[in-house]
Symmetry: none
Subunit: 411 residues, 2 copies
């Protein structure tokens, strides 16, 4: 099955946004063994969209369009597709009711132009959108498959995953490409490669590719096979031999965020935690509280962005701050034990450092960060010197902090 993707939106042609939708959909279709041969971006213009669609119908079996399904006048995708396909639009009462419910639930009044979103081409199927008002549309006609999805990735992606991909897999899937990702932290890309170079070189299916990311290193193991199961059979032994070499640096698989790995262990063991953050300014708590249900083990954080707050809320003695400074292993450990006592939790976690761009000295440069963990079995700390700008230093500090918990809970 040959496919192509059409992204609709003048903002793409003005270069105001990057087309992540085309990349995401292409990747997902590739994994099903569906060939994507073209990606086209076109503006909110009837004639040009119409001619692009006609071209696509000449050469592809599956056409996925994203964007242009909004309530406003410049949203024309549905009208143009219906016209080209010769399908009339009708007002779908069920879709309309859903849109009305969406507004009602939020205590908002639906405006008249939102009704346009309930217009559906005759003979098509509606793909529900649980994160917005624009429904997706699936048209099968003249042996062609045309799928319309909304442009915002938060709406498009779940619709693709829940409805479109399962349908395509069942009806058109042919072989697949499967990747497994190993996520590592605390090791550089080059020393990782050195440690597993013979494994990389001996493989052709699956292939192994290392890649440095802002939040650690990833190893992508990619296999081509007829079925999911065949692919797993190829991938698993390679993962195991990598694990034998560098297992202690692996914090997760398939890009599962470290806060989820840690959060799950905390919840499973009912291990309670509190956090004292200085340079990360709330970022660690934010990541942890992205996990649904985490309130069962997490009850508070102190973002102590000043010495006063470290003294008043965390009971760090002024002496310590004077002698060693706010960015020191001594302060880090006392912040961790201080918040643990305050919140009466099993674990206290702390971070203090210099995120920059100002505040660095030759002795304590920008990027110097201490993470510490206080527990029944003692207090632990790590010293790091991270590179990058303020936001990257916050990110790397958070990763190191979560990794400290992971290592503590692992033992």
């Amino acid at each position: 099955m040959d496919a192509e993707i059409i992204s609709v939106g003048t903002e793409l042609l003005l270069g105001q946004i990057i087309n992540t939708n085309a990349q995401y959909i292409s990747q997902q279709l590739s994994e099903l063994g569906i060939n994507v041969f073209y990606q086209t971006s076109v503006g909110d213009n009837r004639n040009r969209l119409s001619s692009i669609l006609k071209n696509a119908l000449d050469r592809s079996d599956l056409i996925i369009l994203t964007g242009g399904l909004g309530p406003t006048l410049d949203d024309i995708t549905k009208e143009v597709v219906s016209e080209v396909m010769g399908l009339e639009l009708y007002m779908d009462e069920k879709v309309l009711a859903n849109i009305e419910a969406h507004f009602q639930k939020r205590g908002l009044k639906m405006s008249e132009n939102n009704k346009r979103q309930a217009l559906i081409p005759k003979g098509s199927r509606v793909i529900p959108n649980y994160n917005g008002t624009a429904p997706g549309i699936y048209i099968q006609a003249n042996k062609k498959n045309i799928i319309l999805l909304p442009g915002p990735p938060k709406e498009m992606k779940p619709m693709l995953k829940q409805f479109v991909l399962p349908y395509l897999r069942e009806n058109f899937g042919c072989g697949l490409i499967k990747s497994k990702i190993i996520n590592l932290v605390g090791i550089s890309e080059s020393s990782l490669e050195e440690k597993i170079l013979d494994i990389i070189k001996n493989q052709s299916n699956p292939t192994i590719a290392p890649l440095a990311k802002e939040d650690g290193i990833i190893l992508r193991i990619t296999a081509k096979a007829r079925t999911e199961k065949d692919a797993s059979v190829l991938i698993e032994p390679v993962v195991n031999s990598i694990k034998e070499r560098v297992g202690n640096y692996i914090y997760s698989y398939d890009n599962k965020p470290i806060q989820e790995v840690v959060g799950e262990i905390l919840l499973e063991r009912n291990c309670t935690i509190s956090i004292a953050e200085s340079c990360t300014g709330g970022y660690i708590s934010h990541l942890l509280t992205n996990i649904p249900g985490i309130s069962a083990v997490f009850n508070r954080s102190i973002i102590s962005y000043s010495n006063e707050s470290k003294i008043e809320n965390l009971n760090v003695p002024p002496d310590i701050l004077n002698s060693y400074g706010a960015v020191s292993k001594e302060t880090a450990i006392l912040m961790a034990s201080g918040v643990r006592k305050l919140a009466n939790t099993d674990i206290g976690l702390s971070v203090t450092g210099i995120a920059g761009p100002g505040g660095g000295t030759s002795e304590k440069p920008v990027g110097l960060v201490f993470v510490a963990l206080s527990s029944y079995s003692g207090d632990f700390y790590e010293k790091h010197i991270f590179s990058g700008d303020r936001e990257i230093i916050k990110k790397r500090s958070a990763l190191a902090a979560f990794n400290l918990i992971r290592k503590y809970l692992d033992t």
Copy 2:
């Protein structure tokens, strides 16, 4: 002048990389007033590239191709373009010498296949590449302009900036396209459109396009004009009339994040702030502390994820929590005044709500959020019901919280 961009590379169609080149080139051409009407990605395949190029020649005056200029067999852009344009390739000795020098300089031996990169279509101009071995090529024939650039952004961007854009500006620049973005919050896309529909409809230059984003709504005002100044003269009155209608929903321009807007005002007025977060779990503090130097006005936050923490750290009376619940305007206001007193700051900000997916009831549904601000001049609160998943609700809550400060500081 109508332009289009063709990106060549199977890795794009597999979704292995995101097409940042198309975005970058589009943006640069737009600023010259050159209309980009299509972006197409196609694989390393002769027939498909050839047919895409023929399509492009039918409809565009300027075609920029990126990628497929490497030394290996799957690099076919130059051959296909030459064939379609009926131009012979010859070995350019000067280009060859440059490529040889490139290798020599790095102490490397040039391999035989690199010679292919010195093949140049007859009658075309060579665009030098100072960061790699693939030269760019400029073909002018039959009133069409075809430009070939290498795929790696590190090579493509400098070539575009140093050679292509100056040439296009001089020969085809027909004024420019300038956009101004208005960022709004607290209003839906559809009711915004309703309020300014007559302004939108009465305009053709500049055009006005609303777009819903996760963090509010944007209005893009786009003008075509001969100069920057002429564009501003067209844009400014439109911005002013929009401001008159919906000014109180505008929080910034040109996508400046709200925390920067608020952070700058706080720093400017030396207005100190402390924060008590419940459902946002540290996200607001994280955003605020992304601003360098913010420690001058921000000294601490309490992430009170439990009733105990609200009682112990923020002095919210247990009675209030029992009678009204943790998610109530009463608790929100007491959290804000509690943290303000604790940290001794000018402003105390608080958020409490239900981020979901669990914890909602019919009376207090997921998405119910109270934001409150405590100050010398009194306490204020807002009640919101947000849609979206846990992370989007956190984002929208943070936006509303910062917006509450903005409105307070505005008055």
